[in-house]
Symmetry: C2
Subunit: 293 residues, 2 copies
């Protein structure tokens, strides 16, 4: 039997850290490097990961390198800056980019790495930190059949991978999800704040909507834990959703596809982001008069 | 034991007809009158209902009269026009209005009927014709505790009643549902048509979104049966949704509550209603390039 695949992990943020822990729990040797904040790396090392100096060193010891960073410029840095992943990887290894970025950027990274004989898979996720923790993320994958087969077990340690087409198609379908949740969250905020101002009991309203046609995941699973639960800190940062909606609107423009509602949603999050950009995107409810508690 | 409650039924449309059949199946004696089209009344009579000449005659034989008509003017007509329900009802009987209308109008009807010693309950539903058929609608009820207790068994024959507050609160919460679905449907249309134009496979995309944060009832239960299934005929007419959104926007204005996304949704449905007002509201996808099939 071949030795187990060693997985390098770059980007131990709110999503990346629990995803890397899920890989360790599934038995994969994990190698990682610190970025600005050493604490997540120390926690990961305490659970059995090997800590090295920089992304290039991560790559040198890995068969597959997973990236989970905010946006395309950070992917570019992680891959191609001094001491970057591309310099350390050997031919035949694969980069799995689990960041949410533009599919156009994904295809460009894939081309640049292919010139060095390195594979590229885009595999953005949906589900938030709690599902990252439990290894039950939804993973949207763009890859050749061969590359998908080689990274599948690694992805399965973090959730359920869906192979949707060639490189770029994972990001495309992730943007489809973001287009939808951007407006669905605002629909919930407008509707619930209408209910509250009309004197309805929000718990009773949510209970009814669960079995009505307005039933949706954000309302039933996300809002109770954030806006109506622990508050607006943590969760999924409004600035990240704004970035995703901007990427979707750019892609839509190049397809000649109109999205007036997504465009409005982007504007409304931009209004609220000045005060709450770093907080969970349910904080859009404050635009409609929701109070902190 | 008292004799069973006789239920009068006014409004045998796409929703009303299956709801009246559900009452018969549950063992309630049902009395109904024809409106324009006699066919639904004949089908109901063939299943055991008693057919009479007009709403006043329905009321004269009923303990509880259920209304299920398009909007407030039709409720007004059914109650107060010549041979209307109000003239036939005896003191102590109750009108259950299951139409979706403005809560302001509901409260006005309740006051006018109270002057004649007649009770009023607003009980709009969510779920569509298929759930009306199976008696599994979600029913949002505004009523006094006493009136709710008296109509509860009748409502339970048609679905699950949720008592949400005094008269008007059923309609308020129904509008909350409509505010949400108006924008959620457009979110799905913008997102799915983006996916299609980007070359994604829509079946695969829907399968992924089911387990992602964009998961919603309209996408999983409604769109496959209409837009992507039998087509845009039948279902829930776009003109009815436009009427509901207009009522919600009016109510929001009186509450000083901003709903920019619901306002945009109303405008977009209005754009498409010129050709598709009588068809299912998924036909909004045509605005984004969806084809008839």
């Amino acid at each position: 039997m071949s030795s187990p695949t060693t997985v390098g992990f770059i980007g131990l943020g709110a999503m990346g850290e629990p995803m890397a822990h899920a890989l360790l729990r599934a038995g994969f040797p994990v190698v990682a490097a610190a970025h600005r904040n050493r604490t997540p790396l120390e926690r990961l090392a305490a659970s059995g990961a090997r800590a090295v100096a920089h992304p290039g060193a991560v790559a040198a010891e890995s068969d597959i390198v997973v990236l989970c960073v905010p946006d395309a410029p950070q992917v570019d840095d992680a891959l191609f800056a001094e001491h970057g992943v591309a310099g350390g990887l050997h031919e035949g290894s694969i980069v799995v980019d689990m960041s949410t970025i533009s599919p156009v950027a994904s295809r460009r990274f894939a081309e640049r790495l292919a010139q060095r004989g390195i594979g590229f898979v885009d595999a953005p996720v949906s589900g938030g930190p709690m599902r990252a923790q439990s290894g039950t993320l939804t993973i949207m994958v763009g890859a050749s059949d061969e590359h998908f087969a080689r990274v599948r077990a690694v992805l399965e340690a973090m959730g359920t991978p869906h192979h949707l087409g060639p490189v770029g198609m994972g990001e495309t379908v992730k943007l489809v999800n973001q287009i939808a949740i951007g407006s669905i969250m605002i629909a919930n905020a407008e509707a619930l704040m209408f209910a509250r101002k009309a004197g309805a009991d929000l718990d009773a309203v949510r209970e009814v909507l669960k079995s009505a046609t307005a039933s949706n995941y954000v309302l039933e699973q996300w809002i109770p834990k954030t806006w109506l639960g622990a508050g607006f800190d943590g969760g999924f940062a409004m600035d990240l959703l704004r970035k995703d909606l901007a990427a979707a609107l750019d892609a839509a423009r190049s397809l000649g596809h109109p999205m007036p509602q997504a465009a409005l949603a982007h504007q409304l999050y931009t209004l609220q982001a000045e005060t709450d950009g770093k907080r969970d995107y349910t904080a859009i409810a404050k635009l409609y008069g929701a109070q902190e508690h």
